[in-house]
Point group: C2
Chain length 336, copies 2
Amino acid sequence: MVINDNFFMRLAIEEAWKYQGLTYPNPAVACTIVSKSGEILAIEAHHRAGEAHAEVNALKSAYYKLTKDKYILSLVSSLDIHTHLLSNHNNIFHNCTLYTTLEPCSHSGKTPSCAYLISDLGIKEVYVGSYDTNKVAENGNMILSKNNCVVYNEVMKNECDALLKPFNTWREKNFVFFKWAQRLNGTTDEGEITSQESRKNVHAMRDVCDLLVIGGNTVRVDRPTLDARLVNGKAPDILIVSREKEFDTSIPLFHVGNRKVFIQSDFSKLKEYKNIVIEGGSNMYELSREYVDMYLCYIAPKLGGNEVFKNNKDDFEILNIQKNTQDIIMWMRRKV
Amino acid sequence: MVINDNFFMRLAIEEAWKYQGLTYPNPAVACTIVSKSGEILAIEAHHRAGEAHAEVNALKSAYYKLTKDKYILSLVSSLDIHTHLLSNHNNIFHNCTLYTTLEPCSHSGKTPSCAYLISDLGIKEVYVGSYDTNKVAENGNMILSKNNCVVYNEVMKNECDALLKPFNTWREKNFVFFKWAQRLNGTTDEGEITSQESRKNVHAMRDVCDLLVIGGNTVRVDRPTLDARLVNGKAPDILIVSREKEFDTSIPLFHVGNRKVFIQSDFSKLKEYKNIVIEGGSNMYELSREYVDMYLCYIAPKLGGNEVFKNNKDDFEILNIQKNTQDIIMWMRRKV
């Protein structure tokens, strides 16, 4: 195994994928910080919009590792972490190298931008995966360069671009991902398939989705709630795709507060939403195929069941695969 | 992400799994070496019986990283690497920490044992995952301790023990693994499913298997060769499990040199072999269930096919999952 810049970037990429689907409307980003002597000081991701950026989380961990100043661990808001770092860094980061999957942000709002923070801490070497194409007046790389930081661009760019795909899609239009859960042998029927941990992960994604699309048959058979209760999250609006418009309104999904439910025979509603999850089996897969940007498949390592995810001859590219305690979580792109 | 001893051990464990199935009759082992300042100097595995142990491969990489002495890169045999390290180390390893998934070997044969090598290089801290239960006169941990090395045992022991399972099984009896390849939707029919890279990996495993078990129906339909040609390897003997004993002898598997082919209606032949792969679909899965120690599943990220891996209600524990360029490679244990 070669321990080089790609190795450090790959650690960041893997960490970032753990939060894919959870950071809307922000991108999934992570950052590795390595000391002059080559020690990995931190590998941290951005977790959720409104919380600290990946670079800030990584600088916080690295600062603690270098100083053992526990006070910083009590800080949660990005502003507080920025302020503490800027007042107390004592140049400890001067010879560190920072690897970030995305060009550091240049926008100063409630907190200084990550690019200014990195510059102000005196970091002299930054490796960047993807460019931030959302350039305002100036961009992060330029801020770094102006402040005597050497920036190496396009490190594992393809892998970092794949990670950014949802974010870049939100900018152009909406982002639509199709999520399904199956057993190892492809079956999707007979009740709960994946672990509670996996279902919590799905609920955390629903919490940041504005629309959840489901098939009429699934609603009739499963009588689902389709909310984000496992993470005390916000329930998305629902689009039931069905030719038949009559439903038993005692089905729980109709009784979730602050939610709209649409019943339509097509997908035109998608245009009105930004971050959309389609959940279903192979029928919905087929129906929604032309609208989907990415696929998210949970595989429980089990055999059994009867109804197989069977249609189509599609090939996928696996963008990332992770394992939680029990199941596989896999993000994919359909090959064209 | 916490960067601690478990993190370094986990890097070794992941590296070792890449060679699972390829090291027979040796265990799959890997080793991480970290410098005093916390820099990862090497993460290396044992690749194949007869080649250098994981610790030796890691010390070789670490030595090169520290000295830039290119000569060591030209050395392949374990004896040559040992000799070069012992003559040229100049105490550069004194303050390094070594993480190994298995207690270092204590047996001095053609080369000094890894335990003596580590001691002689002056390494003062070793983290060990699993114990070597094959203790001869003295064991590796004891050699290290006697030489002023502090040994921390049982670091991620469960994960390291899972990695050792085939090795420990060979000692007791034979080791039997069931290998299948499927599409994402569980289908196993219609020609080649996985990539050339995955098939090469299978051939490399066949090369170190002494028996390959296959169903009569698969032989009749697929007319396979079942050798290790993609890696220029040795073809294993074949057991065709079939009630019907007549086969068209023009089927290629009958024409591979230095191979025995048995046709039997039961699995009694397994007792005469040590490292056994069973290949097949769900029929063979069902038939061989009571003989199998571990499962190896290749998943191609594709839909399509018709015949599904469908029987049983078995649950598995995923021991390791890796992705090569295209496919998923997953080792599992059936839950009882």
